[in-house]
């Protein structure tokens, strides 16, 4: 039986029912976006009683399909005002799926107390936990694991979420207990905070216990898929060796690294904050250059970076190294790690925090390149000062407060680590994804810069619309499966990749899906998300990049972003 848990924070009632027929074939982003469209009024206040927060493991999560432990979290976003699916690694997706849980829905509202939801094999119980209010995520996770089960997975928010800050994230832990695997984007931590829910403890010690109908057929397909990943040079060698931050140097060399709040495309200090440097320092200090965020991942793109103060930041991802490094004119990896750790502990999206600090530096609130000033400012988030609240409110709001025009955000969400003027395919994605600027929603860096899945010149507009469209459809489908998006590197280059994913789904659920069904699923997800956003008041004017990308040239290629009306065609199916 597939279970559907509903927690009403207004009445404090937990109900465990069977999954509604409509949602049985859905998982991950397919489920969260369908559910939010069905049950959340698009005009509701994101922090109000009518917003609902849904956690859903991907369809393949909890099986031994390689790299399939992704969790989707959905709601109306306080940051963008639109629909949000935020996606995280970590151990809890597999645990939820192994317990036969299709989704956990949190609805209603609680203004006073702090609570935790404890989920076990046969029960789900709401427990008052005022003693845990205000705790950082690292301490909180350790406490809850000690209190309930060392093998529990802990989904939680930090003080930023409790203070309902607009870019607060929701985290869960890796196998070592680090509370650093974030559904970071879009402020869903504030939604969880508005409901008075501090954490969800998932007690389950089995990562691979989800039901599989045809075990033998599944085993063959999963083994084949693992081989496809291991045989591809990026997923089999590049990612395991240096992690995602291996991108720093190639993005810099390609001249599309956003530097000093998107004012130029190259940074002299890029190597100092790159994956190569990270691996070197991590190993020297007894950390790890490679690490899996959940059991059964073959790509192991994560890392563990010991900091000078004795704490360990695990991982430092490329986008985080970028937003706290080149974006702020900082080339000290220890500063980057410290800023990353503060975000993880206080419960904040790193990308949004970095974009916002960039805007504040542009405004002269603190100087570019001043790591100590950035650390001091970011620490104010946890203290809830006025500056701390502005930092945690995101780049767009900070830009408005300080009268800055160079604000890198779409639909209120900060633009990540690839300048759209010289990585135009990603520019199309930033502009048009229903999520607000999101590099993962249609990661055109593949064909633009990495020469994976073909090559489309990043500095020209030709081919970018189609590239982004195809990637957005494929990504939406991948986000439904629970597979890590990085499997796309191998799948895009191997014609057996997608059929093997379909074969795993068919073996697990006793289906006869085809590749066309997968495309249709991806399109359906995007249509649902766009319908929600349209109902919330979004128009095509929201599917544009900020003006400065059209007006200011980016060095070294002297590029501007030119695509405007063509953007309206991207998600028309």
């Amino acid at each position: 039986m597939s279970r559907f848990i509903r927690l009403d924070m207004s009445t404090k009632k937990v109900s465990i029912g069977e999954t509604p027929e409509k949602y049985l074939a859905l998982g991950g982003r397919a489920l969260t976006s369908q559910f939010v469209l069905d049950e959340v009024p698009a005009t509701s206040h994101p922090l109000g009683v009518k917003n609902k927060l849904i956690f859903a493991p991907g369809l393949l999560s909890g099986t031994n399909a390689p790299s399939s432990g992704r969790l989707s979290v959905g709601a109306k976003s306080p940051l963008t005002g639109g629909i949000k699916e935020s996606n995280a690694g970590g151990v809890t997706s597999q645990k939820l799926a192994s317990l036969g849980i299709k989704a956990i829905v949190v609805e209603g509202k609680e203004d006073k107390g702090s609570y935790i939801l404890r989920v076990t094999a046969d029960n789900a119980e709401l427990i008052p936990a005022d003693d845990l209010a205000g705790k950082g995520t690292y301490e909180l996770t350790a406490l809850l694991k000690e209190r309930y089960s060392e093998k529990a997975g802990v989904i939680c928010i930090g003080p930023a979420g409790e203070m309902k800050m607009l870019s607060a994230g929701i985290t869960n832990n890796d196998s070592e207990g680090n509370s650093s695997r974030y559904a970071g984007r879009g402020g869903l931590g504030a939604v969880m905070g508005s409901k008075g829910l501090k954490a969800i403890v998932v007690e389950c010690d089995k990562p691979f216990d989800a039901p599989v109908q045809d075990k033998e057929r599944f085993k063959v397909a999963a083994k084949k898929f693992a081989k496809i990943l291991m045989d591809h040079p990026v997923t089999g060698e590049g990612l395991p060796k240096f992690g995602t931050n291996v991108l720093m140097n190639i993005i810099n060399e390609a001249g599309t690294l956003p530097v000093r709040n998107f004012s130029t495309g190259r940074f002299d200090g890029a190597s100092e904050v790159s994956g190569e440097k990270l691996a070197e320092v991590a190993i020297e200090r007894g950390g790890k250059a490679t690490h899996a965020c959940h059991p059964g991942c073959v790509m192991r793109c994560s890392n563990a970076y010991p900091m000078p103060d004795g704490k360990v930041c695990s991982p430092i991802e490329y986008e985080t190294a970028w937003c706290f490094g080149p974006n702020l004119d900082i080339s000290d990896l220890d500063v980057v790690a410290k800023l990353n750790y503060i975000c993880n502990d206080v419960g904040l999206d790193t990308i949004e925090a970095g974009c916002t600090l960039g805007v504040l530096m542009e405004a002269g609130v603190l100087p570019f390149g001043d790591g100590e000033a950035a650390i001091k400012a970011l620490e104010e988030v946890g203290q809830g000062t006025a500056l701390g609240r502005i930092i945690a409110a995101g780049s767009e709001l900070a830009g408005r407060v300080y009268g800055v025009t160079r604000v890198p955000a779409v639909k209120g969400q900060g633009i990540p680590a690839y300048d759209p003027r010289s990585c135009k395919g990603n520019g199309v994605t930033y502009a048009t994804t229903p999520m607000g600027a999101d590099h993962t929603a249609g990661y055109a860096v593949t064909a633009n810069i990495l020469k994976v899945g073909g090559y489309v010149d990043p500095n020209k507009k030709d081919g970018q619309i189609e590239l982004s469209r195809n990637l957005q459809v494929a990504t939406a489908a991948v986000d439904a499966t629970g597979l890590c998006l990085f499997v796309a590197f191998a799948v895009l280059d191997n014609e057996e990749g997608l059929p093997t994913v379909v074969e795993m789904l068919n073996a697990q659920y006793g289906l006869e899906l085809t590749i066309d069904d997968v495309t249709a699923l991806g399109q359906q997800i995007l249509n649902n998300e766009r319908e929600f956003n349209a109902n919330a008041g979004f128009t095509k004017a929201d599917d544009r990049l900020p003006e400065f990308f059209y007006e200011e040239e980016l060095e070294p290629h002297k590029t501007k972003f030119e695509l405007k009306d063509e953007l309206d065609e991207v998600l028309k199916f």
Binding site: P233, V234, T235, E237, G238, L239, K241, F242, G243, T244, N245, V246, L247, N249, I250, E253, A254, G255, R266, A270, S271, S274, G275, E276, K277, C301, E317, Y318, E319, S422, H439, T440, Y443, V445, T446, L450, K451, V452, Y455, N459, L485, F486, F489, P556, H557
Partner: protein, 79 residues
């Protein structure tokens, strides 16, 4: 002609006293190609996936020019 070369992501091990990202000069005959550059540096051709010349992807048989900034990469990815 003189090229300004940078090696990344493990390719630096093939050249003595070179660190990733630190530029060094290499002299090639006028009209030299990426393939000739790799041979001169004793970097196995199959180890190199991307050749960026002044920030633009080039094929390994494309000719380069004096003063070009050349960056060499194995297959990399992330995001």
């Amino acid at each position: 002609m003189l090229l300004e070369v940078r090696l990344y992501s493990g390719l630096e091990i093939y050249v003595e006293n070179v660190k990733y990202g630190k530029p060094f000069q290499v002299e090639l005959p006028s009209g030299g190609t990426g393939r000739q550059l790799l041979d001169k540096l004793n970097i196995p051709q199959e180890q190199v996936f991307s050749i960026l010349v002044n920030g633009i992807h080039r094929d390994r048989d494309d000719q380069m020019e004096d003063g070009d900034r050349v960056a060499l990469f194995p297959p990399v990815g992330g995001g």
